[in-house]
Amino acid sequence: MLGFLTARQAGLDDPLRLRRAESTRRVLGLQLNPDRDVERIHGNGINTIDIEAIEGRYMLSGGADGVIVIYDLENYGGKPQYTCKAMCTVGRSSRYVHKFSVETVQWYPYDTGMFVSSSFDKTVKVWDTETLKPAEVFEFEGNVYSHHLSPIARKHSLIAVGTKNPKIQLCDLKSGSRIHVLQGHRAEVLSVQWSPRYEHILATASADSKVKVWDVRRASGSLFTLDQHNGDKSKASSEAVNTAHNGRVNGLCFTSDGLFLLTAGTDDRMRLWNSATGENTLVNYGKVCNESRKRLQFTVSRGCSPEFVFVPCGSSVAVYALHTGALVTMLRGHYNNVDCCAFHPDYQELYSGGKDCNILAWVPVLRTSDVEEESACTNKSAAGQSSVNPAFQDTWSSDED
């Protein structure tokens, strides 16, 4: 740390290096922190959360009961103890509330005045944050599993919508109409994701175990289909050709730079693909438990030197090193399956929501005093700690001598 600082001072290092090192350290120190709580609003499982990119202050969450909540993550109290307040809620009492489970929520990438939600009630709603009324409602024939707005798009404002129908729908916010259909999948589309690098590139994952990458300007077909065997015909059986997984593919995530694409499938595997060529990088993440029949929302860290993947894995969140596939740690805190997680790039915090109705905040633990001081301070700190919280005290009764 000090080395980084002096190098930075001396101008030897790129300013990014210090930042990267520090954020990596923080990510590695992620823990469930008693100081940070998220208010319990949802009475049912939480399917999706999204943190807005402009301020990094507001978080959306959608629950299985159709409720959408907006949280304020910023702590202005000055105390370490902070409970994220729910700013506003589209509750069951609201007349605009989704009838069924909300599957995806997303902030409009450029402004917090608008967000989009999709639900099993076969609608995608575009909400006005101020009034909490839908400004636009798109209706579909089947359950909507997923939708996505391109985070970088400047030339279009398309919402890609994956529904029970294998055709991918493109809805234009400008005209408020469905303008385009992408055909190619043979089963319901569980996840759609725009590339953060090229605004016309769209990746879609489907229950037919295929992942397709599209250029929305070209209507005739997909650019390519990801193949887990990289076209090696000898390894693949005839029906397994051009499949990304051996089961349903329900998770998609681009790395922050858009160069790589991560997919997760119900075959308990996670795969890393080169998003430009569609080549399987063959990184082995081991077994990534994935029992979800719906979309799985996972995320990748931003601004760390080796990047990390945060993927829900049963009742915990697994943290993997992106390129080596090494399991860094398991964040255990949920009491039921975790469905979604979102990374806060500014504070290196992770928020995860699960079926136990909790949104847990994983906050980096501040570094304690250095090793040299530690021995001297142990007794004092223990005493001090105990004065603060008697719960941390050992209470051996005297009769056991």
Binding site: C357, W396, E400, D401
Partner: protein, 781 residues
């Protein structure tokens, strides 16, 4: 941490968890804590061992491990952090948060573990929840997601509660259906029951009008007289039934001997009744004034005769010769007096009219304190209706009503329905009670019905005869008054009694009992005397026999049954030719007429010759009497002590099938002889050693595990197989419940059975294949 400490800790944890006890051993726990106190390493080690024990698929181990954990949790911060870090798993293993990972058996212990864990988590949350975030999260998870009601004593989860609710709802539905069905039933049956009740009521009234009145004289037929007397004078308008006849008869008597009547007024009948009767009689008198006195007399006689008949039916009539006069009271005596008087006046008339020779009757009355209705020809129809109704009520209505009441009470239906059902039940029971009080005698009737169904014509012929229960074959005891009917000597005390008892069935000439059932026994007697003169009659033979036969040792006892007990020494043999020519030369014994030609018509000229056959002669003189001996009933009991404290009541001759050789035993069933006693004790000991199957140790342990009570399975299990279990204190999970299903399974899914079945089936298949495998060849043509 030293190795010894480590080992000791593992040992302690294992001992504590495999003790199988609901509570931990305090000494061992103290030792454990003492070691744990030394360092965090120890706690680490204990934590891991405890967690591994918690993962065992045995609720008792888990319970003990949980108790250790909860003990240490309150002591050590380090242990708390370790446990809270892995709190999900901990909850899964103790509170059953994951429905796919249910708590292991035994069930009772698992339930206990669950409730204990939930309570403990709550207390932890109260004291440590603020400091340990995951603990608070877990608590909230339990509370909000799993909906564990921490106040609920039973600590049920939402699923359990829902199940309970569902069950309740289902039960409600079932009850509702049942109530509806019962309601419908009741609506339908109500009318019927009411009708039945009314019918019963009226039948009873007919049988015994207003029998709530309980005067001492309501015996036999007297109540009918008193009641008819009680009624209004318009009684005459009633159809002629026995009561009226009787009344009339009395009136007739009254008219004839009014002075006598006055003296009779002192009897037990209240004066009022008498007065009324007299009044009535006077009324009658006025109406009948024109008639001649003679006619009246005749009338009276006839009616009197009717009464006599009736009396015979209702009371047991005995022959005057042998029976002494019994002490009858009150009215009966009066009536007797009357009879005597009548006899004086109308001696020969009486004989002519009634056919009764003997004038001296003794009426034997048994005065029962309660009501008693005897079936007669007159009330036969009514009684049979009553029987039918009674049967209907007991077999159909009452069970149905009981069922309704049960349904209504169980389902908590409306009070009204219940009350109605209860009312019905009450009235039905009242009817039954009434019926019981009436003491209706209908034994004879049942027989008669059977007979009537068998031969109708005979019934018609015998209409004017008394109803006598049909006798079949041998009768050990013939009542005194029936002796005459059987053609027996009226005096049973003669030495011939045993002979006559047995003969009637065998004698071919004996008149069938039915034909002997004449209306009057005196006439029978007379006829008997005549018959005795007639040599062709069986009676004559009998008399002859009686005279001829040597008199056996005097049995002296006149009562039948007592003499029956002793074996009869002299055999009774049927009469035959040899007896007839006893001690004489038989005229043509052993002679056979030999016909030379076998033809029927072509007879040769010479006459048939007689051939003497010695063998035949011998045979005609000799006689085989097969005497198998008579059956002597067994008088002794087995008397071996039974489990319920009684003695075995079996009456086997030599050997009881349950208790072996029958040996003399004392009052308590112990053998009297010493060697018997020793043998029995040895037997007992042996039996106790080989355990009965309900005392099977594993089964008992199962029961214990299920009920949580100690039945002493460990004691039983002690002396068992040589193979020792690793943890003898834990209840055995592998022991499957000894249910009918498991037993069947063992049989059906037995390897050899399966193989056999498979073999047979494959053989059958193979045969089919052999025969028809090429059939497709032909199918195409």
């Amino acid at each position: 941490m030293e190795l010894s400490q480590r080992e000791r800790l593992s040992e302690l944890v294992e001992e504590l968890t495999t003790s199988g006890q609901p509570q931990l051993n305090q000494d061992k726990m103290k030792e454990l804590k003492k070691i744990c106190k030394v360092s965090n390493d120890c706690i680490d080690h204990v934590y891991h061992t405890v967690m591994s024990q918690l993962n065992q698929e045995h609720a008792e181990i888990r319970l003990s491990a949980f108790q250790i954990a909860s003990d240490l949790f309150t002591r050590s911060h380090h242990f708390r952090t370790l446990l809270v870090d892995n709190f999900q798993e901990f909850l899964e293993l103790t509170v059953e948060t994951d429905s796919e990972q249910p708590l292991p058996p035994p069930k009772e212990v698992a339930r206990k573990l669950r409730s204990l864990a939930i309570q403990t988590v709550q207390s932890w949350q109260a004291s440590y929840g603020a400091a340990y975030k995951k603990l608070a999260l877990g608590y909230h998870f339990l509370k909000q997601v799993k909906k564990v009601d921490f106040q609920d004593a039973e600590a049920r989860t939402i699923a359990e509660r829902r199940r309970e609710e569902e069950r309740q709802r289902r039960m409600d539905r079932i009850y509702k259906e049942r109530v509806e069905a019962a309601c419908k039933d009741m609506e339908e049956m109500h009318q019927e029951i009411e009708a039945t009740l009314t019918e019963m009521e009226s039948c009873m009234r007919l049988l015994f009008p207003d029998y709530g009145l309980k005067d001492t004289e309501t015996v036999g037929s007297s109540p009918s007289t008193s009641h008819s007397a009680n009624r209004c004078p318009s009684d005459d308008e009633q159809p002629c039934c026995s009561k009226d006849v009787k009344d009339d008869g009395k009136e007739g008597k009254k008219q004839l001997r009014s002075s006598k009547e006055a003296s009779n007024g002192k009897g037990k009948n209240p004066e009022k009744d008498r007065g009324k009767m007299e009044q009535k009689g006077n009324n009658e008198e006025e109406g009948n004034e024109e008639k001649k006195s003679e006619d009246k007399e005749m009338e009276g006689e006839k009616k009197r005769d009717g009464i006599e008949q009736e009396e015979k039916k209702e009371w047991k009539v005995k022959d005057g010769e042998d029976a002494e006069k019994s002490n009858s009271e009150g009215e009966e005596e009066q009536e007797e007096d009357k009879e005597e008087e009548e006899e004086e006046h109308f001696g020969d008339m009486f004989i002519r009219n009634s056919g009764l020779i003997s004038h001296s009757y003794s009426l034997d009355l048994n005065l029962s304190s309660g009501l008693h209705v005897k079936e007669t020809e007159d009330n036969e129809a009514v009684v049979s209706t009553v029987i039918d109704l009674h049967r209907l009520i007991t077999s159909k209505h009452l069970p149905a009503v009981h069922g309704w009441v049960q349904v209504f009470t169980k389902s908590g239906a409306e009070q009204q329905l219940l009350r109605r059902a209860l009312d019905l039940k009450k009235s039905l029971e009242a009817a039954l009670q009434k019926h019981k009080e009436l003491h209706i005698d209908y034994k004879a009737r049942v027989r008669k019905v059977m007979k009537a169904s068998s031969d109708q014509e005979e019934e018609e012929e015998e209409d004017d005869f008394d109803e006598v229960p049909e006798k079949e074959g041998y009768e050990p005891y013939i009542p005194e008054h029936l002796r005459a009917e059987y053609g027996l000597d009226p005096s049973p005390s003669t030495s011939a009694a045993p002979v006559t008892k047995k003969t009637p069935a065998k004698r071919p000439a004996a008149p069938p009992p039915q034909s002997s059932c004449s209306s009057s026994s005196s006439r029978q007697l007379k006829r008997l005397a005549e018959e005795e003169q007639d040599p062709t009659c069986a009676a004559a033979t009998l008399r002859l026999l009686k005279q001829n036969l040597p008199v056996p040792a005097q049995t002296s006892s006149s009562s039948g049954p007592s003499s029956e007990q002793k074996p009869v020494n002299a055999p009774v043999v049927p009469f035959g030719l040899d007896l007839y020519y006893w001690g004489e030369e038989q005229p043509n014994a052993g002679k056979i007429v030999k016909a030379a030609s076998q033809h029927q018509f072509w007879v040769p000229a010479e006459v048939e010759e007689e051939v003497e056959n010695n063998q035949l002669l011998e045979e005609s003189r000799s006689r085989y009497i097969s005497f198998p001996g008579s059956f002597t009933p067994v008088n002794h009991f087995c008397r071996a002590p039974l489990g319920n404290g009684k003695l075995c009541q079996r009456q086997d001759r030599l050997k009881c099938p349950f208790h072996g050789q029958i040996i003399p035993r004392d009052q308590e069933g112990r053998p009297c002889r010493r060697e018997d006693r020793l043998r029995e004790e040895a037997e007992e000991r042996r039996k106790r050693e080989e355990q009965p199957d309900w005392r099977d140790a594993d089964l008992m342990r199962d029961i214990e595990a299920a009920t949580g009570e100690n039945l002493g399975s460990d004691r039983v299990a002690k002396k068992g197989k040589g193979k020792k279990k690793k943890y003898p204190n834990l209840s055995d999970l592998k022991q499957r419940a000894n249910t009918s299903r498991s037993r069947l399974e063992k049989k059906v899914f037995n390897k050899s059975t399966m193989r056999r079945v498979a073999q047979v089936m494959s053989k059958a298949d193979g045969r089919k294949h052999d025969k028809f495998s090429n059939q497709f060849n032909y199918a195409l043509n």
